[in-house]
Symmetry: C2
Subunit: 198 residues, 2 copies
DNA sequence: TGGATTCGATTGACACTGTCAAGCGCACTG
DNA sequence: CAGTGCGCTTGACAGTGTCAATCGAATCCA
């Protein structure tokens, strides 16, 4: 956790600032001043401003993949809810990373091969889970639709909790977990799945 | 549609720019130059930069409420899916507004009474719908959880489609509508509701 | 009619940002 | 010991939002 190089110092300071005040007001000149180095020092380790955000996003996706895999490794009897929960809990616990990861104006996934790789790895965790859940007879469309549904639910709840009007309306971690599970249950996405036409 | 006052010209130009390039690179000085007025003219009609985004968000929430109410007025036999669809379609059709509405660093809902009013009005449409759907015997917790679930699903899908990695992966409007309905169906949120505890 | 006031818009200055280009010191290497 | 790469500094530049003062033309009121 303690930064060793200047590169790391800049990253930690930026992530912390973003978690508290968002990524937009962030001034790397100010970060440099706080670190006691020249205004140009941060940019020496990255190509430009976008490069710093890209580095943050890459670190974020790596943590993200790890968090989801750990949730699946827990072998819960309701792995869907567990996975959804891990998504939201990650977003809340690492909002500094999360706020950057889905902002293409800060870090364009298509412009950085490594970012693209780690991002795809994260998405694959979710898609692979849905594929296994639905079984080998499931159509590609159903897999895609269900994976997107789970992803949308978790992503929407995360963003609404972090930046949206749900902000600060859920207090303690204890209640937060219960609320997230309730949301997952109220959607049909929590438990194994029971289709309902008409 | 055609702007009449300079105030309107600025708003239209900004919304169009945001829809194409996002809200962050936007320079109101450049907007002023394009409109053939001085660099300070835009700020004369609003308190500051945040004020312009607030005005855009207010207009957005008004359009948003209207779109959802129209969807409910259609009296579909699957009003849940219809409502979810109207949410996402609105976001895609008005991404200039949508990109601003949920960005508290650009427009803080709690800081502007009118913005707070129109935003609450939008959220009330959703909550009222869920309350009516679940009936008078539903607990407040269930209503809140289900409304949040619907909201999260629609919001997550919208943001993933607009700024996320789903961008440009869904092509035509025709396919888009079908895909949105498939996602709504794959979640349990589409049709009237059937609870499932494993 | 004429003076005051209001309001849309202009002008100039300011601090601040990211970026470009050049240069400095110092460890390491041949 | 010259040379070379690397971490970092320094200085300049264009561009941005914001503050303050000003201007001109309507509008209102005496």
């Amino acid at each position: 956790m303690a930064p060793t190089s200047l590169r790391d110092t800049v990253l930690r300071a930026a992530i912390e600032h973003i978690a508290e005040h968002g990524p937009d007001g962030l001034s790397f000149r100010q970060v440099a001043i706080d670190a006691g180095v020249s205004h140009q020092a941060p940019y020496h380790h990255f190509t430009d401003r976008k490069g710093i955000f890209t580095a943050i996003a890459i670190e974020g996706y790596e943590l993200f993949t790890k968090a989801m895999l750990e949730s699946l490794a827990r072998k819960s009897d309701d792995p869907s809810t567990e996975l959804l929960e891990s998504y939201v809990i990650f977003a809340l616990a690492h909002r500094g990373h999360f706020r950057v990861m889905f902002r293409p104006d800060l870090c364009a996934i298509s412009e950085d091969p490594e970012l693209e790789r780690v991002a795809d790895a994260s998405f694959d965790v979710l898609v692979d889970f849905v594929r296994a859940e639905l079984g080998p007879r499931a159509s590609i469309e159903d897999i895609r639709a269900r994976a997107t549904a789970m992803w949308s639910l978790a992503h929407g709840l995360s963003t609404l909790l972090i930046d949206g009007p749900l902000e600060n309306k859920i207090g303690q971690v204890r209640n937060r977990r219960a609320f997230i599970r309730a949301v997952a249950t109220q959607s049909g996405l929590g438990s194994p799945l029971k289709r309902n036409h008409s």
